[in-house]
């Protein structure tokens, strides 16, 4: 593999000596041209990490290396990063062109080149016609694009986005998501993207760093973190999940080339099932993760082999989705059903659940999560 664009080594930030660190010995490598999402709940250290990379905050320990050069103590204005703030932070006393030209002006680019590059940047975000506008005359989405153009026009070493979509309404957020991703791929700008929205992260990122309590719980591609969560926290934070405490029995065979095996597992009150997980889990207790939409729900017995019988406890209909909660013994399982024009299931109806062994994933960590969120 080639040298990473950005390496973060043991990066730590402690706001006060008597507090837990906001970012705790964080390690991460980002490949050139990748968009990496720092995903986690508020207070997980994702924004702190971004601000340290930007140079807006001094780390307590550790180092940040970009293009093989250590920049841990380089002042913010010498780092050449392009940052988009949550509030966009457009200069209110400058018009759109002046805002976008600011970074070029600081780099003492000639007036003629400034003009050409500003025009190109504005065209890139499809706002070439708004150059002379005052920033306060722009809508939220337009301000967002100007902020992006301002950050990209300097051809930054890294593009840093701090929750850039959280101030937009839901519809616009999805449009901008696609657009930012398209622009990022066109410019091949290596990007760090802070978000608390799992959909955003899954949709846009090449890699997702799921953060919790100042630690990275998992760093991987969207499919990896969704399909193969390493911890309870990751499985719970990304998408919805049913968790079942399982005793892992014998390996029943090799599942795939990735070194995973099939197991026989036993869940109290439900019985024995097939499951999939990394090798060497036999004989201990692990949590079983099943995504709601991977559960087959039938209102009639016999549709699947050896289904589990239960009763429907809750029905939630949202037009394109139908979610149900099914009680089996002392377990409540969440499942997704296809919506159809037929009758909706009612609370108290009998329901029969089944799932494929490949969809029941054993968390590699011990049954209890290593570190509980505070």
């Amino acid at each position: 593999m080639t040298e990473p664009k950005l390496s973060i080594v043991d990066l730590t930030k402690r706001y006060a000596a008597d507090l837990d660190p906001a970012v705790d010995r964080l390690n991460m490598e980002v490949e050139e041209g990748h968009l990496v999402a720092l995903l986690g709940p508020s207070g997980c250290g994702k924004t702190t990490t971004l601000r340290m990379v930007a140079g807006l905050m001094d780390p307590t320990a550790g180092s940040i290396v970009v293009d093989g050069k250590e920049i841990t103590h380089t002042p913010v204005n010498k780092r050449g990063m392009g940052m988009v703030f949550q509030s966009y932070a457009l200069f209110p006393h400058m018009n759109v062109e002046q805002n976008v030209a600011f970074g070029l002006e600081m780099r003492q680019v000639t007036k003629a080149e400034q003009k050409a590059r500003v025009a190109a940047a504005l065209d890139m975000v499809q706002l070439g016609h708004l150059g002379k506008r005052q920033t306060k005359e722009l809508s939220g989405g337009q301000q967002q694009r100007i902020a992006l153009a301002r950050a990209l026009v300097v051809e930054p070493t890294l593009l840093l986005l701090d929750e850039p979509l959280s101030n937009l309404d839901a519809k616009l957020r999805e449009t901008m998501r696609t657009e930012i991703r398209a622009i990022q791929q066109r410019t091949r700008a290596t990007t760090l993207f802070v978000t608390h929205d799992q959909d955003e992260a899954l949709d846009m990122a090449d890699r997702i760093a799921v953060m919790n309590g100042g630690l990275i719980e998992q760093f991987g591609s969207p499919t990896e973190v969704y399909e193969r969560p390493r911890t309870h926290f990751v499985a719970n934070f990304i998408g919805q999940a049913n968790f079942l405490a399982a005793r892992v029995g014998a390996e029943t065979g090799r599942a795939n080339l990735a070194g995973e095996s099939h197991y026989k597992v036993e869940v109290d009150g439900l019985g024995q099932f097939g499951a999939i997980g990394s090798t060497g889990l036999s004989g201990s207790s692990h949590e079983l993760v099943i995504r709601p939409h991977r559960l087959n729900v039938s209102l009639h017995p016999g549709a699947a082999q050896a289904p589990l019988a239960g009763t429907i406890e809750r029905v939630s209909y949202t037009g394109d989705a139908l979610a149900v909660a099914v009680r089996i013994g002392d377990q409540q399982l969440h499942a997704q059903m296809l919506t159809s024009s037929g009758d909706l299931p009612r609370i108290g109806d009998a329901a029969y659940l089944s799932w494929a062994a490949d969809d029941a994933y054993l968390l590699p960590a011990a049954a209890q999560p290593v570190r509980l969120a505070a």
Partner: protein, 306 residues
């Protein structure tokens, strides 16, 4: 022809009904607003508009010796100050003092105000209170304080003399220098308050954005911080200017009679010479001066988008 059954419309008021309801509420609200404004408006009428009108009327009367006021309608009270070079001098001095005090006061208050506006410390409230605490002491007391400090045998002169830095005491009182120093300090709390409320557009994020785009600390200040502070600085300047040219105590006490500005002149005419019509005319002139400055201020704020 078949008629399809239309889906039952949900029960809600039609758009027209809703609009009428809105208009009715609006009208009722407007009446409430007026009722609430009334006491304040009446107060202003009695305590401000009426005296002002009385003063303007007074300025067209004729002042006779011994404080006798001849009810008439003459422009003599205006012709005298506008033709006499002495009053031109006084007006010009007043204006100059206002500008100097305004500028100096803004310069010394700016760092304090900027610090307070940016502070996120839990002590911020206390610090703001301390910054404006001098307002708890009357300007008279503070002026006397300055007389003690600036006087011929005052703190500054005796210190400098004691250190052998000067042979003759600096002349810091009974002149415009003393008045200016005193006024700058006395009006600092007002300037600081005006600035803090005028720095609304300033945000740490804008400065961070400028830094991330390659601006040095100095450039961040000159290109972002200062321009965003301008509306606040201008408001503070205007406030201090207006306060300076209308103040009477400090020029009288620290000026020791040798500093004549419109305010002291008006005081002398009112209480010494008992020439109320003339004092009223001078007051009107001062008022016009205010008006001019406020007009300039409004044009400027529009220009810098405050």
């Amino acid at each position: 022809m078949t008629v399809l059954e239309a889906p039952a419309a949900p029960e809600r008021p039609s758009a027209q009904d809703e609009g009428q309801l809105e208009r009715a509420t609006e009208r009722r609200n407007r009446r409430t607003y007026l009722a609430l404004l009334l006491p304040g408006l009446l107060g202003l009428l009695v305590s401000f508009v009426f005296p002002l009108a009385y003063m303007v009327r007074m300025s067209f009367n004729q002042g006779a010796p011994d404080g006798v006021i001849v009810e008439t309608f003459t422009l003599d009270t205006y012709i005298q100050p506008l033709t006499d070079p002495y009053y031109w001098r006084v007006t010009l001095d007043t204006f100059q003092m206002g500008v100097t005090v305004g500028i100096l006061c803004v310069i010394v208050s700016y760092p304090v105000a900027l610090f307070l506006a940016r502070s996120t410390s839990k002590w911020r409230g206390l610090l703001v209170a301390i910054a404006i605490a001098p307002l708890l002491t009357s300007a008279v007391v503070r002026t006397y304080g300055w007389m003690v400090i600036l006087g011929t045998n005052g703190l500054i002169n005796s210190s400098l003399g004691g250190l052998g830095l000067i042979d003759t005491p600096l002349k810091l009182t009974n002149n415009m220098t003393g008045v200016t120093i005193g006024l700058v300090e006395i009006f600092m709390p007002y300037a600081i308050l005006a600035m803090i409320s005028g720095f609304g557009r300033l945000s740490p994020q804008l400065e961070e954005a400028a830094g991330s785009l390659g601006a040095s600390k100095f450039k961040v200040f000159t290109r972002v911080t200062l321009p965003l502070c301008l509306p606040g600085l201008l408001t503070a300047f205007l406030l201090v200017f207006v306060l300076s040219i209308s103040t009477f105590i400090t020029p009288r006490l620290l000026g020791g009679g040798s500093v004549q500005v419109l305010a002291t002149e008006i005081y002398d005419q009112t209480t010494g010479l008992l020439n109320w019509p003339f004092a009223a005319a001078l007051s009107v002139i001062l008022l016009v001066l205010f008006g001019l400055i406020i007009a300039v201020y409004q044009r400027l704020t529009k220009k810098i988008g405050g």
